[in-house]
Amino acid sequence: MTTREMIERYIYDVARRLPSEQREDISKELAGLIDDMLEERAGNGKTEQENTEDVLKEMGAPYALAGKYRGDKKYLIGPEYFEQYWFVLKIVLIAVTVGMVIAAVVQGVAWVLETPGMTQAMIFGNMASGVGMAVANVIMGLVQGFAWVTIIFAIIERCSLKVNIKEAVSEAWKPQDLKDKPVPTEKAILKKGDSIAGIVFTVAVIILFNLLPFLMGFWIAGPDGVVHSIPIFNLETLKTVLPLLNACFALGILREALRVAAGRHTVWLGAATTVLNLVAMILSCMVFFNPAIWNMEIINQAAAINPEFFTVGLDQLNMFFGYFTRYFGCILIFAFVLDSATSLYKGIRYGRA
């Protein structure tokens, strides 16, 4: 490699990391600079090779020099977003851990109940492998959760220009803004813990409906002592309405996230809660008022496994289950309306100064 080649390669290695429209200009400028620096060193007793190496060393690694030209952000998530990033990350990691652990426990229980005639050694062996799997799943889940949250926030950070423009368009903050933000009284404060518990619970339910729907049902031991599970839902139909249910759960998580973000009851939050609840309510009514979603044969199937299980008449039980399926949606409506009304009432009652 001649000194000339060395310089050419150095300049190329810098330029290739720069936006194409700046490459030529910066290359020419760097060539001139290196030339000047060499000229200054000429006749200092060192060889041309040594001088060239000294000059390039002084200018620094090509990637570092190119970085200075680009004026890169030297961080993934800057101080502006770090606090929010950290907060979301904590929630996601906690939710993943709790969700995965619940899923593992439920699966373990299901396995014990479904496998007849186990010896103690088998139980311990399987428990050990189950715990191992659960730990592996939790770690994988944590890594994934961390990666997604970080990627999303890194993108937000890169797009911060757009976000900041929004801020620039709206008025700058002024002390007068505090007029509408009294320090909340004790009753107006929404506890973060409640919302986080809600989110964690919702995640667990999502896992239950999406991955383990067969666990929701009757657990009945037959005459031989083997435990069978009879699902309360028609699993085939349930699969087709999963998108609706998941949308419902997502709305619930969004609602809790809004509560965490607001930190207190406000009229605005009450209104947002009501809108979200309304949509979720319509979706869940579409799911649970549909008779096909329920396993109407549940009583008969249970009776087929262990006829002695029921002391009451089958007709009566069938009728009761029929009522339950018909009015289950009403329970949900009641819950949604109650939550919305509470949120609205507290928003109006405590949301103002």
Partner: protein
């Protein structure tokens, strides 16, 4: 843990970062090319690496404080930078603020010299 020396290094680097722009603007009343500016700053006791100065010149040009022009008449083509009217305006105000700040610091530290 940072040693006191490292802390001092970081602080003085921050100080320099703020003042180097002023030094560059001061030298560019007449057009100069990058390396001659490096030499001038070094002679004046403000040694600056070319790898720092060249990107800085481009940034200041992008901000409209400097204007540049390629001179291809001489033995080798060189890019000359000179201060713009806008740059002169910024430089004047910056220098004024610097002097005021220097006075203030002088007052606050009671002119101690150790």
């Amino acid at each position: 843990m940072e040693t006191p020396e490292e802390i001092l290094n970081g602080l003085s680097q921050e100080l320099r970062r703020g003042t180097i722009v002023m030094c560059v603007l001061a030298q560019l009343a007449e057009p100069r090319y990058g390396y001659s500016l490096v030499q001038r700053l070094t002679e004046a006791g403000m040694p600056t690496e070319a790898g720092t100065l060249y990107p800085l010149l481009r940034r200041l040009e992008k901000q409209g404080l400097l204007a540049s022009q390629w001179e291809t008449d001489g033995a080798k083509p060189r890019k000359y930078y000179a201060i713009t009217p806008q740059g002169t305006e910024v430089y004047r105000k910056l220098l004024k603020q610097w002097k005021e700040m220097a006075e203030t610091i002088e007052r606050i530290t009671g002119g101690e010299e150790q």
